[in-house]
């Protein structure tokens, strides 16, 4: 088997540096059940701020807060599994302006059924 890394991203990660007056341990965690949509909404709300220092990195979001940054999505995924377990909801998103992925026009248009 040939390994396939389509993006060829860098394989490093950067720790999230919280503001000096802010401690992750002191943070009061919101105990309500977060959905992936909640996490995505929180990420989009913070995107402008994150872009300043972390553009192109992958961020792990949990309970609406950025937790850590990585150079590739696979490493971010491993980190999130270790930190939040197999059943919790977390978001892994690229810190990048929103974009859309094109899929086949024929597929969406139903041309295949003609």
């Amino acid at each position: 088997m040939v390994g396939w890394a389509p993006e060829g991203e860098a394989r490093y990660h950067l720790a999230w540096e919280a503001a000096p007056s802010f401690s992750m341990e002191d943070k009061v965690t919101d105990s309500r059940k977060f959905t992936i949509e909640d996490e995505r909404g929180a990420f989009e709300g913070r995107l402008d701020e994150l872009m300043k220092e972390h553009e192109g990195e992958f961020v792990v979001f949990h309970h609406g807060e950025p937790v850590e940054f990585f150079g590739d999505h696979s490493t971010a995924y491993e980190y999130a599994l270790d930190r939040f377990g197999l059943d919790d909801v977390f978001l892994i998103a690229e810190v990048a302006p929103p974009s859309s992925v094109p899929i086949s026009i024929a597929w969406s248009a139903g041309v295949m059924f003609g």
Binding site: M1, G3, E7, E78, I92, P102, I103
Partner: protein
């Protein structure tokens, strides 16, 4: 003075056999008719599975690792990235890690994004080889139902399940030949063009 090698020369048959031992790098699909190829599009046999990072943690927790989901990907030159059917992702027990947007003729749609492992199998005279990757992929809903509407048998040997789209992120490493006149598709993979496997985190 260079000594001429007077040893026995390799016969053409032996040369072919030696070459045949190389791992195959080409996928060739012969469709029953050009009409069949037109109807269903080029398809490639694959297997989706959970990423090894998840499988290892499931095993460590004493939980079962879901069996790979085998089926076919529709080769889609209109898709910039490979995608998984939501049905296959759910069968693997994958949880979405993000929400993305895809667009087509019906406009913008929201799709779950998963971490998944893809194996593309290649069978040839030299045996079996393949290409595999951990991917961050969009999930496409109702894909299998659409495939069934085409009249392609699903779940059997003929059609297999449609478990996603093979996009241009994969095709950029290949030479794709679509012979619509004869109903034959060949995908020649260039192994040298693939990036090295990600280095595990220390």
């Amino acid at each position: 003075m260079v000594k001429r090698n007077r040893g026995r020369r390799e016969t053409k048959a032996e040369k072919r056999a030696r070459k045949g031992r190389k791992p195959p790098t080409s996928i060739t699909e012969h469709y029953a008719s050009p009409r069949d190829l037109q109807l269903v599009g080029p398809l490639v046999w694959v297997a989706w599975s959970v990423p090894e990072s998840l499988a290892a943690r499931l095993r460590a927790a004493g939980r079962a690792v879901p069996a790979p989901v085998s089926g076919r990907l529709l080769v889609d030159t209109g898709a910039s990235a490979t995608a998984i059917s939501v049905e296959a992702a759910q069968e693997l027990g994958l949880q979405p890690v993000d929400i993305g947007h895809t667009y087509g003729a019906h406009g913008l749609q929201q799709n779950p994004i998963y971490e998944a492992h893809l194996s593309v199998s290649i069978t040839g005279p030299g045996g079996q080889s393949g290409v595999e990757a951990d991917l961050r992929v969009s999930g496409i809903r109702d894909m299998e139902a659409m495939f069934q509407k085409l009249g392609v048998k699903t779940g059997g040997r003929d059609g297999g399940r449609l478990v996603g789209l093979l996009g241009r992120d994969f095709l950029r490493h290949t030479v794709l030949t679509y012979n619509g006149t004869y109903g034959v598709v060949t995908i020649k993979i260039d192994p040298g063009s693939f990036a090295p496997r990600p280095t595990p985190r220390a």
